[in-house]
Symmetry: C2
Subunit: 153 residues, 2 copies
DNA sequence: GCCATTAGTGCAATTGTGTTGCAATATTCG
DNA sequence: CGAATATTGCAACACAATTGCACTAATGGC
């Protein structure tokens, strides 16, 4: 993993005012280096072996990152939560894409306004989530032969 | 459970051309009688004890109903799948609401067009899913005292 | 109506993700 | 440095959902 991501991660963790620990820095650095949303298992796999972070700690750190607005959590429809570093680009509300074959999740820049939806009386809206389902480039059938490795569940 | 729902369910199952079995009919009847999307556990609980359907069979029947367009599946962000009978009202694409407190899911009629979102090259869009998160009438705090039972996870 | 075919079911065991309790550790602040 | 306490690691657990396989029962031809 690139050391510059670790530097960025250290700074981000420090900026929260909470304690700066190796698990927090390393997990956030992994997210910074990721090109897409990662599952808990993927984060764990990408942690350098030297880092030696416990499974449960990874869960708790991810949750902590979300609470501190350093990451955001995406619930796909495969019952797996994925996490993204909260970059400028994804600070506000935005849409997500999930591949219905391999499960890959990426963030999308949203163009256009969210449609208005009427809620029943007494209901209170907090957040709107827009998810596009489809096939990612690596999973589109009959496409030109690709060298992209398919990451299946 | 109302017997008329069972009649409707029998007809719907028969219309698929596949075998008409008690588990299929009873599960679909439960969905027909439901006022909101039900989890697997809720479906099981609402099955009359006389029906005696195995847990696993309920899972498989729900999946079968979805494959045959008699029901549709909603993935909330609490890692639990919920199922709705596919009625006319919900035949096409529509939005969902999920209560962030009790987890309740209902279908919404969507007003207005879906916003256009650009996918990366090579990606193929199949479906757009719009979910509103918020609080349902029973979970809104400080509301006038309610007699509504709260259904918590 | 009866029988053969095979789709569908039931049961047991397993997977995978995520959570909880608690003792041990390590960060921060004076 | 040394105390206070936020975090971590470990073990056990919770729970939805899945898989393998033998058994049962719905359907279609006779």
């Amino acid at each position: 993993m690139a050391t510059d991501k670790i530097g960025l991660a250290e700074e981000a963790v420090r900026s929260t005012g909470a304690r700066m620990t190796r698990p927090r820095v390393m997990v956030l650095a992994v997210l910074f280096a990721a090109e897409r949303a990662l599952t808990h298992a993927e984060v764990e796999a990408r942690l350098p072996r030297a880092a030696e972070v416990d499974r449960v700690t990874v869960y708790r750190v991810l949750e902590w990152l979300v609470d501190n607005h350093l990451a955001h959590k995406i619930a796909g429809d495969d019952r797996v939560r994925r996490f993204n570093a909260a970059s400028h680009a994804h600070a506000g509300p935005h849409a997500h894409f999930q591949c219905s074959d391999c499960g890959e999740v990426i963030c999308l820049e949203e163009a256009g306004a969210k449609p208005a939806v009427k809620l029943p009386v007494g209901y209170k809206q907090q957040q709107v989530e827009l998810t596009i389902k489809g096939l990612c480039a690596g999973c589109v059938p009959a496409s030109k032969p690709r060298t992209v490795a398919r990451h299946h569940h």
